[in-house]
């Protein structure tokens, strides 16, 4: 673990380049691709246009599904012309869907750009349908529209919609810890073991794997964000009395240690126990990273905005692998949630929020970084120009959190570089 250099202020007060223009990002609907796998008895029904349906199947359709757990209710001209009552139509579609899939316990009506623009009130529809199908199915709603959400913000919107559905913990309930953000199952299990060894007994994860395992929340709930894109979810949890534990995100050995430390401090775990419990993980992470560091140290990395994971990952690459940060772009910068991260970033890191993709491409080409982190729309074209890329979406679909995955996370960045060398040879 690398000590925080006292003379560095990090990027806490660093200026951020704010740009507007074409944004080459996904909309929040894309969150469905991993959320439907995480919550195994939930179904995601997008209310939108053919474009929305096309987006989801283009992203997920390479897998052959016997029974997909997502679908789209496509608005057609009859709905727009008012010939059909949108609410009646929606009820008909949901009824047909639930008849086909009786095992579904939770149904999300997911708003899209078209449904938001025509002001279709999906929250009222969700309440109405919940009444009709309870207790078998709970119907909720959130918006994954592109006009309101960017990529991972879809998960934020989904979880925020779930918060009011969480059972209430009593005011005098013993203190409990809630880990917020969809994590790979293997990562969740690792964290559960670590918390247990630390002596923190009451730990729950949100979202749960099944709709009937919703964790309780109340004034004695403390929560740790496992993902940096959960602004609304955090706000909703705070509104129910839960308290956020400020910490960097559990990416890399340093981030994971500090993240666990925040919980340990809050639950009064003594330093000796903390060291004993976390030492093996830290050592394993250090060994894994030591192998990859020679391939990555000194390499210059450029981040296009995508998931809001950019800043924590850039911090990890810079501090634990010695990479140089050319530019770190993020779709949104939540200063409060990322305060600890920004303090750890090397001073003078160029930060950008928002996007003007053509300008950013100009900057990227001028800088000629060793590796570019970008979306799939840019990756192959940049490769064809001779730049090495790491497609960013994979960072959301791969277990990267925690000590045991620190090496895997570094490996994701080393692999394209190794590949380029191998193919040239």
């Amino acid at each position: 673990m690398i000590a925080i250099r006292p003379e560095s202020k990090g990027c806490a007060d660093a200026p951020v380049l704010r740009e507007r223009g074409q944004r080459e990002v996904f909309c929040g609907l894309t969150g469905i691709i991993w959320l439907h796998r995480k919550i195994q008895d939930a179904f995601f029904l997008v209310v939108g246009s053919r474009t929305c349906a096309h987006l989801i199947q283009s992203a997920a359709g390479v897998m052959i599904f016997a029974e997909p757990r997502f679908a789209t209710a496509i608005i057609d001209e009859r709905d727009l012309a008012g010939l059909a009552d949108c609410n009646d139509e929606l009820d008909r579609v949901v009824t047909r869907l639930l008849e086909r899939r009786p095992e579904i316990k939770m149904l999300f009506l997911v708003g899209s750009c078209p449904s938001e623009v025509i002001k279709l009130d999906l929250s009222r529809a969700a309440a109405r349908l919940s009444g009709r199908f309870s207790p078998n199915v709970r119907v909720l709603n959130y918006s994954g529209s592109g006009i309101e959400t960017t990529f991972t913000q879809g998960e934020d919107a989904c979880l925020a919609a779930l918060v009011p559905a969480l059972p209430a913990a009593a005011d005098d309930a013993p203190a409990s810890l809630l880990v917020v953000g969809a994590l790979a199952d293997v990562v969740e299990d690792q964290f559960a073991r670590l918390f247990k060894q630390l002596g923190i007994e009451r730990v729950r994860f949100f979202p749960p794997r099944h709709a009937n395992e919703l964790p309780e929340v109340g004034p004695n709930t403390r929560f740790l964000l496992a993902q940096p894109f959960l602004a609304d979810t955090a706000r909703m949890l705070e509104a129910r009395g839960a308290k956020r534990l400020a910490a960097p995100f559990p990416l890399g050995s340093e981030g994971t240690s500090a993240w666990l430390q925040a919980a340990a401090d809050s639950f009064a775990v003594d330093a000796a126990t903390f060291d004993r419990v976390t030492a093996p993980g830290r050592q394993r992470a250090a060994a894994a990273l030591a192998r990859l560091r020679p391939q990555l140290a000194g390499k210059r990395v450029f981040f296009f905005p995508d998931s809001q994971l950019e800043i924590p990952i850039a911090r990890f690459l810079a501090r634990e692998l010695g990479m140089q940060l050319v530019e770190v772009g993020t779709p949104y910068l939540h200063r409060q949630h990322l305060a600890e991260e920004l303090a750890l970033l090397p001073e003078g890191t160029a930060l950008s929020e928002g996007q003007h993709v053509d300008n950013q491409l100009d900057r990227c080409r001028a800088a000629q970084p060793d590796i570019v982190v970008c979306g799939l729309g840019l990756a192959n074209p940049l490769e064809a120009e001779g730049l090495t890329t790491k497609w960013a979406i994979e960072l959301v679909f791969t277990p990267i959190h925690g000590f045991e995955q620190a090496g895997d996370l570094a490996e994701l960045f080393a692999r394209p570089l190794v590949r380029r060398m191998k193919l040239v040879a």
């Binding site: 909309c27 246009s49 283009s58 992203a59 359709g61 679908a71 496509i74 006009i147 799939l376 064809a384």
Partner: protein, 554 residues
């Protein structure tokens, strides 16, 4: 509202993108919300293009809706023109932008750009991708070739003696199913025939190329979904006739050669004589005898579905038990084809309807799109892809046309591959309970093994008593089960619709049913149940099963 698990086509602006991306030196400015740039991935990932599509999106967000989204569009259009310096520009709106009604065409007129700007009106809530591509191609050709049109009534200049015939190839686009290789195959055929190619469009054509479309003597239309509208206009405007035959399959390719030769005024005999295709011999060879009357269901865009049905019946010896398309614009062609095979045409873009049809028909092979692969997996039926929509694996690195003589070879290999091979099929019909080669395992040449789940029987609505889930004992002395189903397979489809309450299966009959090879078992089950209801037999016994077999084999 339509409940859609999978959609066969994208929105019409994706069709417009397919034209813009196929062409060179054009740019498309699309008024669209943040997130609609996902469509870039179709081209950079699925088709693996090494360039960004020439599309600028306005990517407006919620906060822009309160402000001036029209100004946002004008800025994007102006910037795109200055940055990319295209020879022509397309402007339009996506589904959300259509709702806010900013009129990209009108706004662009105000910009007064020094290049042709084609305003696209693509109604997103009524039309779909192929329509969008067709309309865009037509509008582009009209805008760019229109000015070269001869005055109405002008006689078409005759080809001079000694001048080689010249044609345009219309239809190949970006994100087209095997368009790249079909084009190479057909270009080769035309070269063999001694026909020059004037312009291929939209693929790799520039606006200047579109302007000289009129120089050709005739047009070759490879993909009617994209090019028929344009070809019709070219016929009207420049007097160019167009081909009608789609050269998919050996027979259709020969017909196509004759048609092209007639339009070009040349003799195709030499080319036809040396036409080399392995597919006809492969189909004739005795190894293929077991393919006879395999029941296939065909679904796709109209062009590929009609062509596939013809190849399936005339060149592979299959029996087409169902044909359908999601291309409503070309429903007539599919209805006519359905008449040839005596089946009901299925014109629908409702995935659930197609699924229901496949479950009902219980085919032994599905020829369809990526979407039918989902259905086939659920139902446990072999499947091969014949049409878009397709995913990344169907944009292969190797040469794999569907058209022409090499295309016929590709079709043979692709369609036969998912079927269980002859010897294995026979042995599974004779012996049961093998730990490795059992009836619920996937074909061994596909690496299938063990696992009941691999080929669960497709009769989800029928309750199977728990006892039947037990492994079935080996039963000797049973005749050739395959014949139960193959004769039953020719039964009238409609019989199963006439009755209401289903009869229940006696355990021993259920066991006997399981001895029928899985790929025809569903059909045998349906026929037996239809028979039982017809005869008001409350419980189906082994006797009923064989009565039904005898009944349907009459």
């Amino acid at each position: 509202m339509q409940l859609t698990l999978w959609t066969y086509e994208g929105p019409p602006h994706v069709g417009a993108m397919r034209i813009a991306t196929a062409m060179k030196n054009v740019h498309y400015v699309l008024h669209a919300p943040q997130g609609d740039t996902y469509a870039d991935l179709l081209f950079t990932m699925i088709e693996r293009n090494p360039k960004r599509p020439p599309v600028t999106y306005t990517t407006f967000q919620a906060r822009d809706l309160g402000g001036d989204t029209a100004e946002l569009f004008k800025t994007a259009a102006r910037d795109a023109f200055e940055r990319f310096k295209p020879q022509a520009m397309m402007v339009g709106a996506s589904c959300t932008a259509e709702l806010i009604q900013d009129d990209p065409g009108g706004l662009c007129k105000a910009l007064d750009l020094p290049i042709p700007v084609v305003a696209l009106e693509l109604p997103s809530y009524q039309r779909k991708e192929n329509w969008g591509a067709s309309e865009t191609f037509y509008q582009m050709v009209r805008a760019l070739a229109g000015p070269q049109a001869p005055a109405p009534g002008t006689a078409k200049p005759q080809r001079q003696a000694g001048q080689r015939p010249r044609c345009n190839i219309l239809g190949p686009a970006a994100l087209g199913f095997r368009h790249r290789d079909d084009l190479r195959e057909i270009s080769g055929l035309l070269a063999q025939l001694g026909i020059d190619i004037n312009v291929v469009a939209p693929l790799n054509a520039t606006p200047a190329d579109l302007a000289r479309l009129g120089d050709a003597h005739f047009n070759v239309v490879l993909y009617p979904e994209i090019a028929t509208l344009t070809a019709t206009w070219l016929t009207r405007t420049f007097g160019q006739p167009a081909t009608k035959t789609i050269p998919i399959g050996t027979g259709a390719t020969r017909e196509f050669i004759n048609e092209v030769a007639a339009l070009a005024g040349i003799d195709p005999t030499a080319v036809l004589a040396q036409a080399a295709s392995n597919a006809p011999w492969y189909s004739k060879s005795v190894d293929s005898t077991y393919l006879t009357n395999k029941r296939v269901f065909v679904f796709g865009d109209a062009t590929h579905a009609v062509a596939a049905a013809r190849v399936a019946t005339q060149e592979m010896g299959f029996q087409v038990v169902g044909i359908g398309t999601y291309s409503r614009e070309f429903a007539r062609e599919v209805r006519e084809a359905a008449k040839l095979y005596g089946v009901e045409p299925l014109i629908s873009d409702d995935y659930l309807e197609i699924e229901a049809k496949i479950v009902e028909l219980q085919p032994e092979l599905v020829l369809g799109t990526q979407m039918e692969r989902h259905i086939a997996k659920r139902v446990g039926v072999p499947c091969a892809v014949i049409s878009a929509p397709v995913h990344v694996q169907d944009f292969p690195a190797r040469y794999s046309p569907q058209m022409g003589f090499e295309g016929a070879n590709v079709l043979f290999d692709t369609w036969v591959h998912p079927l269980m091979m002859g010897l294995e099929e026979h042995l599974i019909g004779m012996f049961r309970g093998d730990a490795e080669f059992h009836e619920d395992a996937a074909p061994s040449h596909l690496g299938g093994h063990g696992g009941k789940a691999a080929r669960a029987e497709a009769a989800p609505q029928i309750h199977v008593p728990a006892a039947l889930a037990e492994p079935v004992a080996v039963a000797a002395g049973v005749g050739n089960d395959a014949s139960i189903a193959s004769t039953a397979g020719q039964a009238d489809e409609r019989e199963s619709h006439t009755v209401a309450a289903p009869a229940t299966w006696a355990p021993d009959a259920e066991k006997e049913l399981r001895k029928i090879p899985f790929f025809v078992r569903g059909k045998a089950r349906r026929n037996t149940e239809a028979y039982a209801q017809d005869k008001r037999v409350p419980v189906i016994t082994v006797e009923t099963l064989y009565d039904a077999k005898a009944h349907f084999s009459r």
